[in-house]
């Protein structure tokens, strides 16, 4: 498997608090890698450090075998690392199509200020094509001209996903994509993610609370608790692990139910 995103011995501090300590993980291309753990385990913090929104205290972030630890979020994005947000960051004054189109166009501004003023006709056509394809891949073409404000949470999640797809990113960090979705919508989403990985060969790192979805679609899982890695393995191994069960104590029923759901799927 080709290298996608690699995190080595990552630690992040907020003031005196250590949010993440010594996390090492690897999310290669063509694989759906899951990052799970109870609330406050440091999953989103890890994401923020990977995408460059946070400066890690120690450790390295490698993207396609090159060290990007010192690069800002925009430059990482231009190296084909895309992400979504747990608390969605949509362009709330725009339509669905405009949101998705900006997913592509944002990367075209580049570092030359003059390119931020106007789009060339060729670029305009490329943006148009990418938008249509991404809308189609997420099955939201019929919502294209609606204002994102008017959409349900589930639909908004799909818009955010389509936006990151339109951007042509090769490595995707998806934060809680299924939260707010109902069961059918989640399953549908799982299908989209699986196809992305299997057919286009992108790499995905997924943070997710919906265990049924995680167990059904992920190839490999990392488990965090209190900012520290506690386990890694395939979904069946994770389900069997007593350490993971202990971490999820109180939601053990949830994990069992998830296991059941996974078998059904």
């Amino acid at each position: 498997m080709t290298a996608g995103l690699e995190v080595r011995d990552l630690s992040v501090r907020y003031g005196g608090n250590v949010a993440v300590a010594g996390v090492t993980l690897s999310a290669p291309m063509g694989r759906l890698t899951g990052l799970i753990g109870p609330n406050g385990a440091g999953k989103t913090t890890t994401f923020n450090a990977c995408s460059g929104l946070l400066r890690p205290a120690t450790g390295q972030v490698l993207l396609f075998d090159s060290d990007v630890t010192r690069l800002g979020p925009a430059r990482r994005a231009r190296r084909k690392l895309g992400r979504t947000f747990q608390r969605m960051e949509l362009f709330s004054s725009m339509t669905v199509a405009e949101n998705v189109a900006l997913g592509r166009e944002a990367g075209l501004g580049g570092s030359n200020p003059l390119r931020q003023f106007l789009a060339s006709p060729a670029q305009r056509r490329a943006v148009q094509a990418a938008t249509e394809e991404a809308l189609d891949a997420c099955f939201i073409t019929d919502l294209a001209h609606q204002a994102v404000e008017t959409l349900s949470t589930g639909q908004r999640r799909l818009v955010e996903l389509a936006r990151v797809l339109a951007g042509g990113f090769r490595m995707l960090l998806l934060d809680e994509v299924s939260s707010g979705l109902d069961h059918a919508e989640s399953e549908h989403l799982g299908g989209i993610l699986r196809r992305l990985v299997d057919e286009r060969g992108v790499g995905i790192l997924l943070v997710e609370h919906d265990m049924a979805l995680v167990m059904a679609v992920c190839d490999y899982l990392y488990v965090l608790d209190f900012g520290k890695p506690i386990f890694e393995g395939t979904p069946p191994e994770v389900q069997a692990s007593p350490i993971v069960r202990a971490a999820y104590l109180g939601s053990e029923a949830g994990l069992q139910a998830a296991g059941h759901a996974a078998k059904v799927v």
């Binding site: 994005a77 895309g82 709330s92 931020q116």
Partner: protein, 660 residues
């Protein structure tokens, strides 16, 4: 050291009062999330109230003081709490404009009621010497001022730490909903904190007035604005640091006054707090500062989508009207020339605030820089100042249009500098930094020889353009030259708004984080939008100076920036990008020229109030699209109903009868 002592003492006294005002500001900002730009105006109003009660109505000063603080602290506090609650969840820019509207309203009211002249405000506290340190006398009044400041600080500090109410007040800051669940009303707590905060402002206004050489509304407002520096030192949250910061700023300003005696540097003293504020905001990471209640993101607003043919027709009619205007208005033509210059200013401000969600309280500074650059580029020397209009001025030979572009370019460079704070901060903090820049301009740069200093009373002149078939330098020639530039500016900015840059700016207004993680370096975008906006503001200044030459610093006062923003917000509430600029310019320039009762102070009051209402009622935006949609659907349902009535006449009639 000894030579500094008198300044240190005076500085401590005024500084303690800045600290007092600052405490009130921090308290209300932290409990409500609304940063009150009108804090100083409230102090001014209270000082004038005290003036009337004590010096005109001859009430004893303790009674007058109690009434003034009671009215402006108590009633003002309750009203401001209502206002701040009305502002929950609206855009940050709207919140800023709301309190600026209040500031303008109070200031306009004070000018209207008390006149423009400075009033002597005698000492009302005993000024007898209390003691002498190293030959410097300290008066009882000075001691009382510091004592009141310190006592208020200690009392507030203990109140917040030790009393039940104080603890709930601190809880409001961190978790208002939780407090509500626990049975304590967050509203009641907020009312109390607003009352305390406003009382501190009112008290400051009264105590600081005798230390001044006469009071006037703008001066007082600006003085208490000095508290912003204190608040910045306290990082908008710490009460002890705010109070000590106030004293530090008072001393710094007093010492600066001693050190810098000659113009233009003698203005440094009055902008010391803002230099501190700018420094603090540039150093402090954004996440260490408290967040207000404002929402960053914009909301979808469907403008009234007219059919293209209709809007093109309307635009054409407007252009024809503007071209025909000189035939209709006779010798009032220069009014329209200035109004057109302001159309460009409002477009540039709108591009920055309405499209990209940034904020600038420095646009009158941009206007001034454009005007002065234009003057430098077109006028070689003034020669003898004669009574003739332009005969004595020697031109540089640079064509007017080229000079215009030069004026825009120079202003754009200054705008680029202001983009630096925009990269570090947003919302209310950016507003404060730009306001500080405006004050710096007024007090230090504007009086310098490079700008308005050194020129005689006549001010700076600009050579008039020769345009078209008109008599060179005539009013018509100027008008049509300006009109041509304005139409080009409208076209260029509208095009940019629709182009990639416009999409980036809208995206940045909604979510800079998302835009960054999608690959756009938004700092470059911020640099671009500030430069573009300043470029057009500079053009506006050059046009304005061409029309009204000679121009003086008076036209570019920092308060004007506040007025421009409020008028724009009022206009933008009801109209789109280009239309709102024309509406705003008409409201600012044309209407007062025809209605002599609309003086500067009445204008300030009206727009202040209008901005306040626009903010509270509609978040500064009327959604014509949805109103039209509602109207259409009502029409449609009425149509179907009437059809049904025709089809099933008796049944509907019976239903209607039942309803009646």
């Amino acid at each position: 050291m000894k030579e500094f002592l008198p300044f240190i003492i005076v500085g401590t006294v005024t500084g303690s009062l800045y600290g007092l005002a600052g405490l009130g500001l921090v308290l209300t900002y932290r409990t409500s999330g609304v940063f009150n730009f009108a804090h100083g105006a409230l102090a001014a109003a209270s000082a004038y109230g005290f003036y009337t009660l004590h010096f005109n109505m001859h009430l004893p000063w303790p009674v007058a003081l109690l009434i003034a603080v009671g009215v402006f602290g108590g009633v003002g506090g309750v009203l401001l709490e209502r206002l701040s609650r009305g502002l929950t969840g609206v855009r940050t820019a709207t919140i800023i404009v709301a309190t600026i509207g209040l500031l303008l309203f109070l200031q306009g009211f004070l000018y209207w009621r008390y006149g423009l002249a400075r009033r002597n405000f005698p000492d009302f506290l005993p000024t007898k010497t209390a003691f002498t340190v190293l030959e410097v006398t300290v008066s009882w009044a000075q001691i009382i001022n510091v004592a009141v400041g310190t006592a208020s600080f200690v009392a507030l500090f203990l109140f917040l730490r030790r009393t039940r109410l104080g603890v709930s007040m601190r809880a409001v800051v961190s978790a208002p909903d939780l407090l509500g669940l626990a049975g304590t009303s967050p509203v009641r707590i907020r009312v109390i904190s607003w009352v305390i905060g406003c009382s501190f402002a009112a008290l400051t206004g009264i105590l600081i007035s005798p230390t001044l050489v006469g009071i006037d509304a703008i001066l007082l407002t600006a003085l208490v604005v000095q508290a912003f520096g204190a608040v910045a030192i306290g990082r908008f949250q710490s009460l002890p640091l705010t109070y000590l910061g106030g004293i530090a700023i008072g001393i710094l300003a007093a010492v600066a006054q001693k050190q810098f005696l000659k113009p233009p540097l003698n203005g440094i003293s009055s902008v010391t707090p803002f230099l501190v504020l700018i420094a603090v905001l540039l150093i402090t990471p954004a996440r260490k500062l408290p967040v207000g209640v404002g929402r960053l993101a914009g909301t979808a607003r469907r403008g009234l989508r007219l059919p293209p043919a209709v809007s093109a027709g309307a635009a054409l009619a407007a252009v024809v009207g503007l071209v025909a205007l000189p035939q209709l208005v006779g010798n009032r033509l220069p009014i329209y020339g200035s109004a057109l210059a302001f159309v460009v200013l409002f477009l540039s401000l709108s591009f920055l605030t309405q499209v990209s969600g940034q904020i600038s309280l420095a646009h009158s500074a941009f206007l001034a820089i454009g005007a002065v650059t234009m003057s430098h580029l077109t006028v070689e020397s003034y020669g003898a100042t004669g009574s003739g209009n332009l005969g004595k001025v020697a031109g540089t030979g640079i064509p007017w249009a080229v000079a215009l572009l030069g004026a825009g370019a120079v202003t754009a460079l200054v705008g680029a500098v202001l983009a630096l704070p925009a990269m570090r901060t947003t919302g209310v903090y950016l507003a404060l930094v730009t306001f500080g820049f405006g004050l710096l301009m007024d007090n230090v740069l504007s009086p310098s020889g490079l700008m308005f200093g050194g020129t005689s009373q006549a001010g700076r002149r600009v050579l008039r353009p020769d345009f078209g078939p008109f008599h060179p330098g005539s009013d018509k020639s100027v008008y049509y030259a300006i009109l041509a530039v304005v139409l080009i500016c409208c076209a260029v900015l509208s095009a940019l708004r629709r182009a990639r840059l416009g999409r980036y700016l809208r995206g940045m207004a909604d979510s800079p984080t998302a835009l960054t993680t999608l690959g756009l370096g938004v700092n470059t975008t911020r640099l671009i939008v500030f430069s573009v906006s300043a470029f057009f503001a500079g053009i506006a200044g050059a046009l304005f100076a061409t029309q009204t030459s000679p121009v003086t610093a008076f036209s570019f006062n920092v308060t004007n920036s506040l007025l421009y923003l409020t008028i724009l917000i009022v206009a933008a509430t009801v109209a789109g990008f280009v239309t709102s600029a024309f509406v705003a310019a008409a409201l600012l320039v044309v209407v007062p020229a025809y209605l002599s009762s609309i003086t500067f102070e009445v204008q300030s009051m009206l727009f202040g109030l209008a901005a306040l209402l626009a903010a509270v009622v509609s978040d500064g935006r009327v959604d014509w699209g949805s109103i039209a949609a509602r109207f259409r659907s009502r029409l449609a349902s009425a149509a179907t109903a009437s059809e049904e009535r025709r089809a099933h006449g008796p049944v509907t009639a019976r239903v209607e009868g039942a309803e009646a």
